[in-house]
């Protein structure tokens, strides 16, 4: 019998009557599938019968937190997702934003936390591979990769191994793909000792009239599998990523997928080549929950059914069951629905790139996902139910209590500002990340105009003078102390970083990393952060177009600090007019924009002096952010400033030190004003601030412009020599500071 006949021999029977053999249900089996007792009862109600083994597996992954967002969906709906620049918001493989002139940016960030802790190299590598597939499945060529990494305390026994593995994994995948890894951030904090975070972001560029979606509209169309063969790797990866860790976590290594960037590079080129024709009706990558979630999503969005014959799936191993094939998370695979008749031309492209190409089924008008294997029906489920029936929880939450404001009086003072600066700049939080980003090819594609190490990375939009700026940021200690202010701050910091290079911020993606949502205090963190993010996005007209939620980042009941990592993109109209944090010329006047109260709660200075973070984080005033940022961007566009840097972690003196190190030039700085403690002035982490330099002849005009706009601005010093000289404090050679700044990570990790 041919495959076609196998799939169509339902004869006179109704499709509904093809009932697969029920599995023998036990409590243990239900628990193994990550389902609660109530959820199983719900499943039985929907199905009206006992599921087959394959069906149970399908429900398990579709209802996993990772795929269903069952704890977060209710709150995610409240985030702003619209704007004139938005072509596609959340709900597709990635978000799409209009860059003008027929070009769109397609981008998303995604977590690979659980796998990266278990197997750092492969976990991180496949995270990068997965996010790139999300972007190129929509028709974009990836042009920039970024990441946001959180590790445990530097001297924890596993940290060195995890950092080395994660960085090497990101490098191996991104470098082979030939996509520059241009930006990111790395934190060390003991609260990540048992749960590291690996968030990968990818930005791609596509023509606005060549964007591909996942809705499989039309009946009788071929369902085509392309890419790598299917193996047994990653089965239940999505379920694993939706549970807490315990002492047996290392035994979950087999659920981690193995990446093959070579195959993905071929898949990228083959897909983009096929996308030049009109053969593709719908396309979706096989990521978490593999063939299951890709087929269900495509069928659901298209309003059709899928009948698939798994005998036709290219397989890497013998004897795989339907259950294994439907749940495998083997990497570098795509599912497509093509126009009938286009298969031979499409297959020729995949043959050229030495990739598998197999018609494994067709779209139907039954509205059902019917899976055949070895002559048996292994699953027969209603697509719409499967897609929409996942539980949605409004989990109880308790709001995080407001912490007290910390002032300089609460912290043992430093008697040596210079020495304190050196300690901060040569420690885990602020030291150079060169050791990391030098392992990433950040120049391939020949368009990187601002490399890692600045506020935001900038890649040229190929063949134009436009620049695409991108950054990732969040300050988890702020979010822990005050989720609402921390959520605002995370969004605002990306916006400031884009602004500081002269870009107009356009939109964000996010990776919401939290602990166990069934604990009300964790859910309170989640709700608080989202409220803050939402308010910030609305105030800045800076919508969220894609993202991912990673819960259960928790081990033996101890959760991570709330970490809503934000990835922002912005547009520079002409890369000839952009800014960087590098001091340019001696004699340039240094101006601080924004108000300094000296907020030291949750500051790096506080941790240095007291050994811990405490109190309320700096407050974020959104209208002030908007006003100050828009002004800074105007000054950059008018070419009145020579260097720009936002003030964030570590405060004002750290920002100035960054600018000095990047240039090798020193600065002469005035003493702190009399009305504020020196350490609060230099190391307070007040928001809405920027350090800019202006050529001396522009100084008066710029100060007047700021004053007219009623924006606080103070001349605080001048770019000068090769030392950092603060009035009344020890001077410091920039070469010495640089040496300490650069030494920390190599000493820790090499």
């Amino acid at each position: 019998m041919s495959e076609k006949e196998i799939m169509n021999n339902e004869g006179g029977m109704s499709q509904k009557d093809l009932i697969p053999e029920p599995v023998e249900i036990t409590d243990a089996l239900i628990a193994e599938h990550g389902l609660s007792g109530d959820e199983y009862v719900h499943l039985l109600e929907i199905l009206g019968r006992v599921p087959s083994s394959t069906e149970l597996g399908i429900f398990s992954v579709m209802w996993s937190e990772h795929c269903s967002y069952k704890s977060s969906r209710f709150h995610l709906k409240k985030l702003p997702v619209d704007g004139p620049q938005v072509i596609q918001g959340p709900g597709e493989n990635a978000g799409v934003v209009d860059l003008g002139d027929g070009v769109a940016a397609i981008f998303k960030m995604e977590s690979h936390n659980h796998p990266s802790y278990i197997e750092p190299f492969q976990g991180a590598a496949t995270g990068v591979g997965g996010i790139m597939r999300d972007v190129f499945t929509m028709g974009a060529r990836p042009v920039a990769n970024l990441n946001a990494l959180r590790f445990g305390e530097p001297d924890h026994a596993k940290t060195r191994h995890l950092v080395n593995g994660v960085v090497a994994g990101i490098a191996a995948y991104g470098n082979c793909m030939g996509v520059p890894t241009v930006g990111g951030e790395t934190n060390f904090d003991k609260r990540y000792n048992q749960n590291i975070l690996v968030n990968a972001m990818c930005v791609g560029l596509a023509d606005t009239d060549k964007i591909f979606y996942s809705a499989a509209k039309g009946v009788g169309l071929p369902v085509v599998y392309v890419g790598s063969k299917t193996g047994r790797d990653g089965i239940h990866g999505a379920t694993m990523a939706s549970a807490e860790f315990d002492d047996e976590t290392d035994e979950k290594r087999p659920t981690v997928q193995v990446g093959d960037p070579f195959t993905e590079k071929l898949l990228l080129e083959a897909c983009l080549e096929l996308m030049n024709s009109d053969a593709i009706i719908a396309i979706q990558d096989m990521g978490a929950a593999g063939l299951t979630s890709s087929s269900v999503e495509m069928a659901d969005k298209g309003g059709v059914g899928f009948t698939m014959n798994l005998d036709l799936v290219p397989q890497r191993e013998d004897g795989m069951t339907a259950y294994e094939m439907m749940l495998s998370e083997s990497q570098e695979r795509m599912l497509m629905v093509l126009k009938p008749g286009s298969e031979p031309a499409a297959k020729a492209i995949f043959d050229k790139w030495d990739l598998d190409f197999a018609v494994i089924g067709e779209t139907t008008d039954t509205g059902r996902l019917i899976v055949h294997h070895k002559g048996e029906v292994e699953a027969n489920l209603e697509v719409a139910t499967l897609a929409d029936s996942a539980p949605e929880y409004q989990r109880p939450y308790t709001k995080t209590a407001k912490a007290e404001t910390i002032t300089a009086d609460d912290i043992p003072p430093t008697n040596n500002i210079t020495e304190t600066l050196i300690k901060l700049m040569s420690g885990p939080h602020l030291s150079s990340r060169r050791w990391i980003y030098q392992q990433y090819d950040h120049m391939v594609m020949g368009d990187t105009v601002q490399r890692p190490g600045g506020d935001a990375a900038v890649v040229r939009v190929h063949g134009t003078n436009k620049g695409l700026a991108s950054t990732t940021d969040v300050t988890p200690r702020y979010c822990y102390a005050d989720p609402y202010e921390g959520g605002k701050q995370a969004v605002v910091e990306t916006w400031r970083n884009l602004t500081a290079v002269g870009a107009t911020p356009l939109a964000i993606t996010n990776c919401l990393n939290f602990g166990n949502p069934t604990r009300p205090e964790i859910m309170g963190q989640f709700v608080g952060c989202l409220e803050g993010m939402g308010d910030a996005c609305r105030a800045l007209s800076y919508p969220i177009v894609s993202g991912n939620v990673s819960l259960y980042n928790e081990t033996n009941g101890v959760g991570i600090p709330p970490t809503p990592a934000i990835g922002g993109i912005g547009l520079i109209d002409d890369i000839a007019i952009q800014a960087s944090l590098v001091f340019k010329t001696e004699g340039d006047v240094i101006i601080l924009i924004g108000d300094t109260q000296g907020q030291l709660g949750q500051s790096l200075y506080q941790e240095l002096q007291t050994g811990d973070f405490a109190g309320a984080p700096p407050s974020v005033d959104l209208s002030t952010e908007l006003k100050h940022g828009d002004m800074v961007r105007r000054l950059i566009t008018a070419q009145k400033v020579s260097a720009v840097h936002d003030v964030s972690d570590g405060g004002l003196l750290v920002a100035i030190a960054d600018m000095a190190i990047a240039s090798g030039l020193g600065a002469e700085l005035r003493a702190a004003p009399d009305d504020i403690a020196a350490e609060a002035y230099w190391f307070g982490e007040d928001q809405a601030r920027y350090v800019v330099t202006v050529p001396a002849e522009n100084k008066d005009a710029v100060l007047t412009e700021l004053q007219t706009a009623q924006i606080p601005a103070n001349e605080i010093g001048v770019v000068s020599g090769s030392d950092l000289i603060i009035e009344g404090a020890d001077s410091l050679a920039i070469t010495q500071l640089t040496e300490r700044f650069e030494a920390y990570l190599p000493n820790l990790l090499a």
């Binding site: 490098a171 070579f262 071929l266 990433y440 090819d441 391939v444 020949g446 890369i575 000839a576």
Partner: protein
């Protein structure tokens, strides 16, 4: 100047070199798929950077066996100039057009950064627009760039003046401190005996305008354009 760029599965600097060649020579190169058996008549054949065949087995080893390489080798032997950059250098070594081997970097890690190089001689088609002994800035981006050759081969390369570029300080001083990958004698690039084939690990095509951070790579392509004018 008419040039051809060989494209292998997972070459990834093919577009970059094509952009540089077009920007500087004014004409687009022919992009030649590795499965072809003949290279169009060209003044210059370029083997670009990337991860041909995923660097599986050994960097460049599988690409050296691709169908197109028979014709590249025969054209190179007949005198057609060949330029191999990064993975292209590895392919040239693996295919026997250049001596030696490229091993894993000394500290085992991939490394991407700007380096300084001394242009050892300026009497070749690749370097005629540089000053003799000039120090230039090109970026490196590789995992396997640690040049190795047996003592006799190394001596021969040095005696023949086949060293094209050496890693150096910004001031042109050659020392271990400025050797990014452990290459013997700080070798960053070498010629064949006839000076018609050049392989180098650094990427001249990546620094071809001020906005990219420098333009020291331009003179290599201008040298070639002048040579074939």
């Amino acid at each position: 100047m008419r040039s051809s760029v060989i494209v292998f599965p997972a070459s990834n600097c093919d577009r970059d070199i094509a952009v540089a060649l077009e920007q500087i020579s004014g004409s687009k190169p022919d992009m030649v798929w590795h499965g072809e058996t003949s290279v169009p008549s060209s003044d210059l054949i370029v083997i670009p950077g990337g991860f041909s065949f995923g660097d599986y087995l050994r960097s460049g080893a599988m690409a050296a066996q691709s169908p197109i390489m028979k014709d590249v080798i025969s054209k190179a032997k007949a005198g057609t100039p060949v330029l191999g950059i990064c993975n292209g250098f590895q392919v040239l070594v693996e295919s026997g057009l250049l001596p030696g081997a490229l091993m894993r970097n000394r500290d085992i890690k991939f490394i991407c950064k700007d380096v300084f190089l001394n242009v050892e001689r300026n009497d070749t088609i690749f370097t005629r627009k540089y000053a003799a002994g000039e120090t230039v800035k090109y970026p490196v981006a590789h995992h396997d760039g640690n040049y190795f050759a047996s003592p006799d081969v190394l001596a021969e390369i040095e005696d023949n003046g086949q060293v094209a570029f050496r890693y150096a300080s910004e001031d042109g001083e050659v020392s271990e401190a400025d050797n990014p990958n452990g290459s013997l004698n700080n070798i960053a690039g070498i010629y064949n005996k006839e000076l018609s084939v050049l392989g180098l690990m650094p990427h001249p095509e990546r620094l071809i305008s001020a906005e990219l951070g420098g333009s020291d790579g331009v003179l290599m392509f201008e040298s070639l354009v002048e040579a074939f004018a």
